[in-house]
Amino acid sequence: MLRFLIVTATVLGLALSAVGSAQAADSKQVYDFYCAQCHGTDGKGRGINVTKDFATDPRNLTSSSEMEKRSDEDLRGVIKDGGPSISKSALMPPWGATLTTDEVEGLVKYIRKLCDCKGK
């Protein structure tokens, strides 16, 4: 019985781990597709659109000191409603009508990985 329980728990753990990495992969794909054009694939805020005409530097998403000032709710709001929702630049556009709730949640988690930090 004990062996059965251990095997079941191991299989369940592996399955959950696989689901977790699939979600992580999806979130990276979502990030690369929508966000990297300005924030860069590495998250440092130097995407291909950041030319001399770009009026403000996109947020460096790897900066833990900057990113820990924002709550996860702040991040959700900025992703969905754009920079002006937290009195920041409109160059961060609103993605609320484009992304699903799951994609937004995945991005919040992915951004937290990039900064290796938690929200306030």
Partner: protein, 217 residues
């Protein structure tokens, strides 16, 4: 009775003739042979996921007749210059500018074929090119399109690189398509790297931006 049958047959034939787009001879065949490796023309949009979009080698053309201006398209197919600064679906590689060239005859035939591909979403005669201060403010500040698109300022090119360039839009794009795209972007491109601005701008604002873009030299 025979008269009725003949009348019905003629009526049906006329209906088919008016429903199907008429192409210059061979335009669809040339397209099928040379262009379908990168472009599809049988709408509506097929992409449902990011992977679907990334699998495409070039833009969808099922609404090309609503999007482009005929003279521009015929000239561009003979001498294609990059419209996107970057390679399609890439954020790193420069557009190699290697789109195949067509002869004048083939370009005319393919243009006729493509101009027959219309979207019912695009209503004709709605937008006239116009550089209003209202649109300049939206384009430049409120919803900064130039963050991702190149645009002209006194002969110089400014702006971002990820989207297609808007330089020369006055000759390339149908102003009514620009408006339809801004107001109902999902109908044309369900999966794309551009936000849906109809969620934050009203139709009057979107119409002014469409008119503004349509005036770009």
């Amino acid at each position: 009775m025979r008269l009725l049958a003949v009348t019905v047959s003629i009526g049906a034939a006329l209906l088919v003739m008016t429903a199907a787009p008429s192409y210059a001879a061979g335009g669809d065949a040339i397209f099928k042979k040379s262009c379908t490796g990168c472009h599809y023309t049988d709408g509506p949009a097929k992409e449902k996921t990011i992977a679907d979009q990334l699998a495409k080698k070039g833009p969808e053309l099922w609404y090309a007749g609503s999007k482009f201006q005929k003279d521009w398209l015929a000239a561009w197919l003979q001498n294609p210059k990059p419209i996107r600064p970057l390679k399609y679906n890439s954020l790193t590689d420069k557009n190699p500018g290697d789109h195949p060239k067509l002869s004048a005859g083939d370009a005319a035939a393919v243009t006729d074929f493509l101009m027959g591909l219309k979207s019912p979403e695009v209503k004709a005669g709605v937008i006239k090119p116009n550089e209003s201060a209202q649109a300049r403010n939206i384009f430049g500040k409120k919803a900064p399109c130039g963050g991702c698109h190149e645009y002209p300022v006194k002969g110089e090119v400014h702006g971002g690189k990820s989207g297609p360039s808007l330089v020369g839009a006055s000759k390339r794009l149908n102003p009514d398509w620009v408006y339809a795209y801004l107001t109902n972007i999902k109908a044309f491109k369900p999966v794309r790297g551009m936000p849906d601005f109809a969620s934050v701008l009203n139709k009057k604002d979107l119409a002014s931006v469409a008119a503004y873009v349509a005036a770009f030299e």
